[in-house]
């Protein structure tokens, strides 16, 4: 599949307002996957995504950090969000940037995961999910 088509699918699925916002979500999810997937699963995924997306699946260290968990995974995606409005969690006050950023990040991540899943056979999907940290596996399988 072509990268532009891949991005279009994610954008339509997630009702993203701009192509920049769509690509930011895609890139952050791919980079987070690169932090957690062991070499074989990372290579398998790389071979199924458009070439432009492959660069984001590179990891500098040889092995994933075993303590990398769903909070860290989410951190990569939340960092890519623009202001999302509404109430923030830090003091229970009003803040235009904090918002329900976690919920929004999980929603966006789901759109990227489902586009990725369409590139994978069911067995490959299960194999990939098995290599993801707890909770992230559920986000992936339910997407």
């Amino acid at each position: 599949m072509e990268y532009a088509q891949f991005l279009r699918e994610v954008r339509e699925d997630g009702c993203f307002v701009s192509s920049e916002e769509t690509e930011a979500a895609v890139v952050s999810v791919l980079m987070a996957l690169a932090q957690v997937l062991p070499g074989p699963q990372l290579r398998a995924l790389s071979s199924r995504v458009p070439p432009e997306a492959m660069v984001y699946l590179r990891r500098t260290s040889s092995e994933p950090d075993p303590l990398f968990d769903s909070h860290l995974f989410l951190g990569w995606v939340v960092s890519s969000l623009d202001a999302t409005g509404m109430r923030d969690k830090t003091t229970g006050g009003l803040d235009l940037t904090a918002a329900y950023s976690g919920d929004e990040a999980i929603r966006r991540m789901g759109c990227v995961f489902s586009a990725l899943k369409r590139q994978l056979e069911p067995a490959q999907q299960r194999e990939l999910a098995a290599a993801l940290p707890e909770v992230v596996d559920g986000w992936f399988l339910n997407a």
């Binding site: 968990d69 909070h71 860290l72 951190g75 939340v78 960092s79 940037t97 950023s101 976690g102």
Partner: protein, 296 residues
């Protein structure tokens, strides 16, 4: 590292109010693992913090905790260590708390060398108060209090610690929790003041120093085989690196320096807490008065 105790032993039931994806979660996890790996039980630990997002950490752990007013955890921790040197005392606070309002205590602790471990959640911003620039914000950083970009040069905590006489100086990254846990454990085993400055992405208010920003720059000092952490000159050089390449690991370690409490005369006969405990267990009223006199 072989895990002995279950890190879940340190879990608390308090509702966590950190933003989703905050780097503080990784610091919490690494600290729990470091304690479990060293077989240290919850009642043997005191975590002292100040005010800030990162300073909420003691509330999220099943250990003894003490939240001081803003910037004051180091003197409180030093006092706790003097009263009860058997306790593992950990200070955990943000960059504003440590290096801004608590900056004087930071410098004095470096030269005083109490046997405490200081974990700084350095997100280069004031998170709790919604995004003002902090002492470690890079020059030019735009925030609500620096709309045209911050004017001052960023404080270099590792260089300050080295100049002030700290005996253990390390830097970790919240995006790599396993080596961070190792560094915390080594800091705790070091006799004297141990600084572990943790690069901690604030996903809500710091949109510059993100996980990706750090990941692109950090490298492990251990990969440089010739690097010797006991070499003060080499540590000074490494402490200057920022922007392009950021070293992680133990920058400096001086072994064999006496800790502050090792040199306090009043502690020669045992710690106040252990002596009082002994008196409670084995009451000898004639000893109360001299003991009281000694410490008043």
């Amino acid at each position: 590292m072989v895990t002995r105790l279950d890190p879940k032993l340190f879990d608390a039931t308090t509702e966590n109010t950190w933003c989703a994806g905050c780097g503080d979660f990784a610091i919490l996890k690494a600290l729990k693992l470091a304690l479990a790996d060293q077989n240290i039980e919850p009642h043997q630990v005191l975590a002292v913090s100040g005010i800030g997002c990162g300073s909420k950490l003691p509330d999220y752990m099943n250990i003894n905790g003490y939240m001081t007013i803003h910037g004051r955890p180091l003197p409180v921790a030093t006092a706790a260590k003097l009263a009860n040197p058997d306790l593992h005392v950990i200070v955990v606070n943000g960059d504003g708390d440590s290096y801004g309002i608590g900056g004087n205590h930071f410098v004095q602790s470096c030269r005083r060398n109490p046997n405490i471990t200081h974990i700084v959640e350095n997100n280069q911003i004031y998170g709790l108060t919604k995004g003002q620039y902090s002492p470690t914000s890079d020059k030019g950083f735009v925030t609500t209090t620096s709309p045209d970009g911050s004017i001052e040069l960023a404080l270099n905590p590792l260089a300050v610690a080295l100049a002030a006489g700290a005996t253990f100086i390390a830097r970790a990254f919240a995006g790599q929790p396993k080596p961070m846990a190792q560094m915390i454990a080594e800091g705790m085993q070091h006799r004297g003041y141990a600084l572990i400055d943790v690069l901690q992405p604030c996903v809500t208010f710091n949109r510059v120093n993100t996980y990706d920003w750090y990941r692109k720059r950090v490298y492990d000092l251990q990969e440089e085989e010739s690097y010797d952490p006991s070499d003060r000159e080499a540590a000074w050089q490494k402490a200057q690196e920022w922007e392009e390449r950021i070293p992680l690991g133990i920058l400096y370690r001086a072994e064999g320096m006496p800790a502050y409490e090792d040199q306090v005369k009043a502690l020669e006969g045992g710690s106040p807490v252990s002596r009082l405990t002994e008196l409670v267990r084995n009451p000898r009223p004639e000893q109360y008065e001299p003991l009281k006199e000694e410490f008043l």
